[in-house]
Amino acid sequence: MTQLQSAFTIFLSLLVEALPFLLLGVLLSSALLLFVDETRLIRLIPKNPLLGALAGSTFGFLFPVCECGNVPVARRFLIQGFPPSVAIGFLLAAPTINPIVIWSTWTAFRDQPEIVVLRVAFSLTVATLLAWTFSAQADLRPLLQPVVARCVPQPQPAMASATSPLLRSGTFWLGDAAGQRVDAMDLQTQMLTTPSEKLSFQDRLNLLLANCVQELRELGGVLILGSAIAAAIQVGVPREIILSVGTGPISSIVAMMVLAAVVSICSTVDSFFALSFASTFTTGSLLAFLVFGPMIDLKAIGLMLSIFKGRAIIYLFGLAAQLVFILTFSYQMLN
């Protein structure tokens, strides 16, 4: 009974700490999706694939989305003719490289600032390298789901796509996607079909509200499941087992990466989750959790399948896992 009460207290405290950040993320991403015009951005992107990858990886500062919000945005980038390196860099880095996530990580680990700095540095490195690798594939379409591939412009006249007639067609999302469950946000569908200047302020406000409610409902549910798992592990699993896994240099990193993939907790709040393991797990493994989790997890894979074919996701998953392991393991060995 005491254990159950302790577990509930831990669960509640994780939620109390994480909800404000989730709410901030939801509010900001809703607002910015409405007010930032990415067709202007496309002209500013460097042509060089490596620089493009780096630029894409830092776009999170403009679109502070967690790993649930980045997939629709990345897909929109591809369709609007952004170079693949930019879209993939964004897809992998945006959930970590954004002000809200950096702040929440700092809140959780203010006593270990190296975790905050390294989280950003490692995420940026992995995302940029991966996006650069993918840019070797000049035409990304064979790796994309047919629905998305049809909308992606030819690689050569990519820059002309800002005025592509596809953008104006209005119903291709819903029409083309009839066969599969597309997760297009209502808001984004509206954005694509309605030029933003035509929306009245009242309409924008209503859309913003609708988007907030929708994201809170979905992400809140995932957050609750994640917190429940964290609390249950803390209270239920004997300390010796956690310690034996958590102090091994390799086992701790592998365990935290698997946990990150399974728990699928939102990146705005995952640092609080990681914090509950801080006293028993190595710093390297906490970093692995914080870098790998936002890039690839079960929930994100579900979402990414709405852009990529399975093959591409296996490449992404494998490469990201190896890079994160190498980086965090070397960090651990150097300390």
Partner: protein, 256 residues
């Protein structure tokens, strides 16, 4: 299998209810003075802000739903299209509502010795845990709290350096299995961020008799002086008490 459509889980009122209830939970924890059991005081304002904002969103959404014209109604139905397919429609709201109700009914508890033993009471801060950031300006040893002592020890871990200094600390009793029967550990929990990361710190107290006189989880004020004892080959700073008094559980049982 539940027929989700029939249960009408896409009802927008379900979302409003979920958001309103969570706003209520956060505000109740704040107004009921229980936030400090859950998170570090530095972040109370974030929770309070979230409680107010969630309630506001619920109110605005309620107003919108109430005055909706039929044209807007049809748009609202479209907006119910899920943007994630992680949950079946409405399940997210149901989970939120269920946990919020639990949060309203069940009071958060103060951690006790069972948790302390599970997490391991030490006279040092865990290596991967927070590095000490402040040592305060406490110069008089009898004004040091348990966490002050532990922080001091962390910086200069030579127990003999503190022998003979006066001690006056408050905490609860933990019967550590690694200490002999005439020692208990006077313990406090330290919170860095939230209740998920609280960890116990404590100092052994030497008794003339068996520690059974002081049951676990009793809150005590211990006065005396510091001595050095050896436990399983390791010298450790220990309290030689001159007086041990039972005290009520403090309003705020955690150190920060």
């Amino acid at each position: 299998m539940l027929d989700l459509e029939r249960l009408n889980l896409r009802n927008p009122w379900l979302d409003v209810c979920a958001i309103a209830l969570w706003g209520l939970v956060l505000l109740k924890l704040w107004l009921g003075g229980q936030l400090h059991l859950l998170i570090h005081p530095a972040y109370h304002w974030l929770t309070i802000f979230a409680g107010i904002a969630l309630s506001a969103i619920a109110l605005v959404k309620t107003a919108e739903l109430l005055k909706k014209t039929s044209r807007q109604n049809s748009r609202a139905r479209n907006s119910q299209a899920e943007h994630l397919n992680f949950f079946p429609p409405g399940l997210g709201s149901c989970i939120l509502i269920f946990t919020a109700v639990l949060g309203l009914i069940i009071e958060p508890t103060v951690f006790v010795s069972a948790t302390a033993l599970q997490r391991g009471v030490n006279d040092f801060l865990p290596i991967t845990q927070s590095q000490p950031q402040s040592f305060g300006q406490v110069t008089r040893p009898e004004e040091k709290t348990i966490i002050d002592w532990v922080r001091t020890l962390n910086v200069y871990p030579e127990p003999d350096a503190y022998s003979g200094q006066k001690v006056n600390v408050e905490g609860f009793v933990v019967h550590s299995p690694v200490l002999p029967d005439n020692y208990f550990t006077i313990t406090r929990f330290v919170m860095t961020c939230c209740a998920a990361d609280v960890y116990p710190v404590g100092l052994p107290v030497k008794l003339e008799t068996s520690r059974d006189r002081y049951p676990q989880d009793t809150w005590l004020a211990v006065q005396g002086e510091m001595i050095t004892e050896e436990f399983s080959g390791k010298r450790q700073l220990t309290i030689q008490p001159s007086s041990i008094e039972e005290i009520p559980v403090p309003a705020n049982p955690y150190h920060y």
